[in-house]
């Protein structure tokens, strides 16, 4: 196995009386798709929130590329190579789809201000290149045709894909996807599975939260299961699926899984 | 009026002061007084002249003044300007009026520096600026004198309203306060409604004379609150307070005995019939600086009556003017535009009216 890109070491997160994560440790290896599953309220989104610096962890440590992420500003974390999507969509509604992506692409560029004011303005050519790249990303997730539409007016499913494209725009090494398939029908999920694989093949590492088991099991290299803020399994999809604890906590007695 | 009179000579004057916005009361009152003077003049001259008044609303604001002034200055028809009401607006306008030699007579801009050759800017009003009221330099010490008159061991507390007018008065008063007679100073925004803190200071200082250098809208509530808190000493104020409206703003018991100074006298005090006539003709009672505004207008009108119809002639005529004010004192401008030998009059509120108590000398 290749080395780990990010490691969570004994991470705990408490909100007043609620313990959202308790002593969670796992890592994500480079170029891997790691599925993160668990019942509602198990702490999955919280994992994303602590990685991206939305919350400061109560205890433990998060290490990204060998360096701790604690105390680092949120935008800096993104610049180091972590980008996410949001479970409840948070696009910039009054920007077009394309602009949503370009804005994230700017992340790694020199500040537009200093350059723009005192040096050359971002050159037309560079701007063109950024645009082309953003368009590529939209095409990549299959919503190229919507590039000129305002994000807020897009159908739900398109917005979800746009969230992915925007996160990819930030050129992360680690891409955090929070329920990207919510609101998709099974046929669309098949598409999405292919897209996620494509993303990995393009060199990204993916941490994927998803409730659709067939999707998770299909695309993940490995699956971590949380329950009540604790890790209860960390194994290959096949093994996890058969783990009685996981079945009990999460999957339930398999309904006629047609 | 005989509209038929085709031979009526049209003369255009201007008024500059705040006519809208927060400060409008001062300007509106002066404008009414000016128009009243014109009415009287017309009545006397039976349609020989048609006097027009251009209203230059500066909202009491120098910035507004600076854009109105060039317009007024370049309007050749205007041969005299009553105003500006405020010193700040006057200063902002002066460069334009000087350049076009528009004679101005202000009823209420009392800032010393405008006519003081030793001030920063060196009598910047010369040659166009004139004013009827005595300056802060005269009024400051007089006000102090009047306020402490007959008080055996005065302890004077002075409150200004942070306006150029109020602060100016205090500045010129300060030098004339004998050692040991000062109980303290306070500087209070002219938007103040609650005076508890100032009153507490006055009480702490055990003052027995309180002078307010500001305008009547604030003076009334201030005095009221001060009296209601149990203060029994003397209350005094300058010409900014000397308005008939002042009397309507506080219970008679509160303002009984308030001492005031001014270059002129309220219309009602000059002649109750005059005030009644004013009210009849203008639809409202006269305001602060009414007498000054009438005097200022009269200077222009008397020149008009002498046949003046250009700015040059008007300026000459104003400079040479010598006549009686409403109160009977002499109006004659010195080289800097001040009324020569301007005296301050003293007043006291007695039985709900402002009574003239003689010049403060």
């Amino acid at each position: 196995m290749s080395s780990s890109l990010i490691q969570l070491k004994n991470v705990s997160m408490k909100f007043g009386g609620v313990t959202a994560l308790s002593d969670v440790s796992f890592d994500v290896k480079e170029k891997e798709i790691l599925g993160l599953i668990g019942p509602n309220g198990a702490g999955k989104t919280t994992v994303f929130n602590v990685i991206t610096g939305v919350y400061q962890i109560t205890s433990g440590e998060i290490i990204f590329e060998g360096k701790s992420l604690s105390g680092i500003k949120r935008y800096e974390i993104t610049r180091r190579g972590v980008a996410r999507t949001f479970q409840s969509i948070r696009l910039w509604g009054d920007m077009t789809a394309l602009e949503n992506v370009i804005t994230a692409t700017d992340t790694h560029k020199k500040s537009g201000l200093v350059l723009g004011l005192f040096g050359f303005p971002v050159s037309r050519r560079e701007e063109k290149r950024d645009k082309a790249r953003a368009q590529e990303l939209l095409d990549f997730v299959g919503i190229g045709e919507y590039s000129d539409r305002l994000a807020k007016n897009l159908p739900y499913g398109v917005q979800r894909r746009l969230e992915i494209a925007r996160a990819m725009g930030a050129e992360p090494k680690l891409l955090l996807l929070d329920e990207p398939a919510a609101g998709f029908n099974p046929a669309e999920k098949v598409d999405l599975a292919a897209t996620i694989r494509k993303i990995r093949d393009a060199g990204y590492t993916v941490l994927l939260i998803e409730h659709d088991m067939s999707l998770v099991m299909k695309v993940s290299d490995r699956v971590v299961v949380l329950d009540f803020g604790q890790k209860i399994a960390d194994d290959s999809p096949g093994k996890v699926q058969d783990d009685p604890r996981v079945i009990e906590a999460y999957l339930g007695v398999p309904e006629n899984a047609s | 009026a005989p509209a038929s009179n085709a031979a009526a000579k049209t003369i255009t004057l201007a008024f500059q002061g705040p006519l809208t916005g927060e400060e409008a009361s001062v300007g509106q009152d002066e404008l009414a007084a000016m128009q009243y003077a014109i009415k009287l003049f017309n009545a006397k001259n039976k349609g020989k002249y048609k006097i027009k008044v251009v209203q230059a609303d500066d909202q009491g604001d120098p910035a507004q003044s600076a854009k109105v002034a060039p317009g007024i200055a370049s309007n050749k028809k205007i041969i005299g300007l009553v105003g500006a009401a405020y010193s700040g607006a006057t200063i902002a306008a002066l460069p334009y009026y000087k350049q076009r030699l528009l004679p101005m007579i202000s009823p209420s801009a009392t800032r010393v520096s405008i006519t003081d050759p030793s001030a920063q800017g060196g009598a910047m009003g010369v040659p166009v600026f004139h004013r009827v009221p005595p300056t802060d330099k005269v009024q400051g010490p007089s006000l102090f004198k009047l306020a402490t008159k007959g008080v055996s061991s005065p302890k004077v507390f002075v409150v200004d309203d942070q306006s150029a007018y109020g602060v100016g008065l205090v500045d010129y008063m300060k030098n004339s306060i004998p050692a040991g007679q000062s109980a303290g100073f306070d500087s209070v925004s002219d938007k103040t409604t609650d005076w508890s803190a100032t009153i507490a200071k006055i009480k702490t200082a055990a003052a027995n004379v309180v002078i307010y250098t500001g305008y009547f809208p604030q003076a009334a509530p201030f005095f009221k609150q001060l009296r209601d808190s149990g203060y029994t000493g003397i209350l005094a104020g300058g010409d900014g307070v000397l308005s008939p409206t002042f009397l309507t703003l506080a219970p008679a018991s509160v303002i009984e005995g308030v001492r005031l100074t001014a270059g002129t006298v309220p219309l009602a005090e000059i002649d109750a019939k005059l005030e009644a006539d004013f009210k009849k003709k203008m639809g409202k009672s006269s305001g602060v600086y009414a007498a000054e505004a009438i005097d200022a207008t009269n200077v222009f009108l008397s020149c008009v009556a002498k046949g003046v119809s250009t700015r040059e002639a008007m300026l000459k005529c104003v400079k040479a003017y010598s006549g009686k004010s409403l109160t009977g004192s002499t109006i004659k401008f010195d080289a800097y535009g001040d009324v020569a030998g301007g005296v301050m009059n003293g007043f006291e509120v007695k039985g709900g009216v402002i009574k003239f108590t003689g010049p403060v000398g």
Partner: protein
């Protein structure tokens, strides 16, 4: 109502390079020749038409452009913008009367002072959101005025007198009554400001501000250094206000705290929103109209501020996004969210 903005943008987009240059030159020429139209219907009664062009119109335009960076671009509700204008003006007033420096030398100093105070104010204020920011900035605007009102060195309520006019530059002479010259100079400043804003906001910085305005958390989490951009917006806005202040003081020769009241901040804000927040052309149009209107309607004398207020109410209700709204209704879609 026809969508002026889109019409304009369409015409612009359909032009080639040459066409655009020609269009721009024509526009500038028309605007620059405004002072010659004093004899027409445009004339303002009582107030001097050319002075009105300088102040309030051009001055408001400049300030509105500055405030638009703060509020229109990055969504920070600043109710104390007049503070920067005041700081620029007082810098000019003090240095102009106390040192031998002239207007052109003081201009960068005034701008720097305004920017510096922008940082000082921004650091505590920009941690706050929405209306909390509004009240802090409003307070700041008042503080600047109150300090000027109470500090002897700043002339207190009497203000500062005899501020020098700018010395001749490129053979152009400035006297206090050469309104046209001032107008044209301001025009140059305005063009510079437009150029700066467009250069900055067309691309990266513009998008960053936009994203902050719409969802600050999401922006931060996608790598936008939000605090830094907000400070930048504040400081840039301040710089424009400061420049306006310096030039203003050097024009009126006399400044006093009364020139820098909260009402000015509110008026400039009204210009921005009235014209079309976020769209520089809209903002300019708003400032022109709201600067011009009170003087154009002087003939109604007593009621002119009342009418002014009515115009604000009616126009905002008819065109809530302003006269020339921020760009983009989508090409085919009107925004009318039926909700």
């Amino acid at each position: 109502m026809i969508n002026l903005r889109d019409k304009g943008a369409e015409i612009w987009e359909n032009q080639g390079r040459v066409g655009r240059v020609v269009l721009a030159l024509c526009g500038v020429t028309v605007v620059a020749s405004l002072p010659f139209l004093g004899g027409t219907i445009l004339n303002t009664p009582i107030a001097d038409y050319e002075s009105v062009l300088v102040y309030p119109i051009a001055m408001f335009v400049l300030m509105a452009i500055g405030l638009n960076i703060v509020i229109g671009k990055s969504g920070l509700l600043d109710l104390g913008y007049v503070a920067f204008f005041a700081i620029g003006a007082y810098t000019m007033g003090l240095l102009g009367t106390k040192t031998g420096l002239n207007t052109w030398e003081i201009l960068p100093i005034g701008i720097a002072m305004a920017m510096f105070s922008g940082i000082i104010l921004g650091i505590p204020a920009l941690k706050l959101r929405g209306d909390y920011l509004a009240i802090i900035t409003l307070g700041f605007g008042e503080i600047v005025r109150i300090v000027a009102l109470n500090l002897g060195a700043l002339g207190r309520s009497e203000g500062i007198l005899n501020i020098p006019t700018p010395p001749a530059i490129f053979g152009i002479e400035y006297t206090f009554d050469s309104h046209r010259i001032y107008y044209w100079t301001l025009l140059v400043l305005i063009l510079l400001a437009i150029w700066m804003v467009r250069r900055l906001s067309a691309r990266r910085a513009g998008r960053a501000w936009e994203s902050i305005r719409q969802d600050e958390d999401a922006a931060e989490l996608l790598g936008v250094p939000t605090f830094r951009y907000k400070i930048w917006a504040f400081v840039l806005g301040a710089s424009v206000g400061g420049a306006a202040g310096v030039f203003y003081a050097s024009k009126t020769l006399f400044i006093a705290p009364d020139n820098f009241t909260l009402q000015i901040s509110i008026l400039i804000l009204a210009c921005v929103v009235f014209g079309g927040m976020g769209n520089i052309w809209g903002v300019i149009l708003g400032a022109v109209i709201l600067g011009y209107l009170p003087d154009r309607i002087r003939f109604i004398s007593d009621a002119r501020l009342l009418v002014f207020g009515l115009v604000l109410v009616i126009m905002m209700n008819l065109r809530p996004d302003g006269l020339l709204p921020r760009k983009k209704r989508e090409k085919t879609i009107d925004k009318k969210d039926a909700t």
